[in-house]
Amino acid sequence: MIDLLTNSAFVILAISFVLCSYRLLAGPTLPDRVVAIDTITTIIIAMIAVYCMKEGSAIFYDAILVLSILGFVGTVSMAKFLARGGKIFDQ
């Protein structure tokens, strides 16, 4: 039961990944792409958690922590970059 559920969980997460990749490729503005990358990071974290659940091991939980920290730092730095390029701070 758990095995079937984790296999279908990978399928559903892959469908979500495809939707986010569409927004990453075709997003009209740059913040759209940043949101898509942030969501893709979340999906990858969920994939690692499901994989740990399927294998019954816990060696990838450090990867979950590192990936969440990296995603947060990347999002914040990208937001700072976007805001500094705007019209408010040019004067």
């Binding site: 559920l5 559903i12 990944f17 939707l19 979340t42 974290i45 969920a46 805001a83 019209k87």
Partner: protein, 121 residues
């Protein structure tokens, strides 16, 4: 037995929320609408999946890491979403045509978002 049932319930709930958030990212017409649809739903789905993994693997050293990841996701996801949407507004990303209000327009008098909406009215 009960841990297996809890694992299945948490996993199904998490997958539902993540898929719904990504559908919102795919379908919504605006950066702010996409942010609004995606960030909260995806964070809740991730927390549910981490809870399922925590219940399935049991109380051990893994449990602390799962709780830590849950707390970190709850702390960082709203901050990141707020920063990106604020940067998008400062950058001058247009609101959708059918947006009815722009509460930030009084604080950014140089911005063109409010002017566009007012001209369309």
């Amino acid at each position: 037995m009960i841990s297996e049932v809890l694992t299945i319930i948490f996993l199904v709930l998490g997958l539902f929320f993540i898929l719904t958030g990504c559908l919102g990212l795919y379908r919504m017409p605006d950066v702010f609408c996409r942010m609004h649809a995606t960030s909260k739903a995806t964070t809740l789905g991730l927390v549910f999946i981490l809870m399922a993994s925590f219940v399935h693997l049991g109380f051990s050293s893994v449990g602390l890491k799962a709780i830590l990841a849950i707390v970190f996701a709850f702390l960082t996801a709203p901050v990141g979403a707020h920063l990106i949407s604020r940067a998008a507004y400062q950058r001058g990303v247009k609101l959708h045509d059918r947006s009815v209000t722009d509460a930030l327009s009084a604080r950014y008098p140089e911005k063109t978002n409010a002017d566009q909406i007012r001209d369309q009215d």
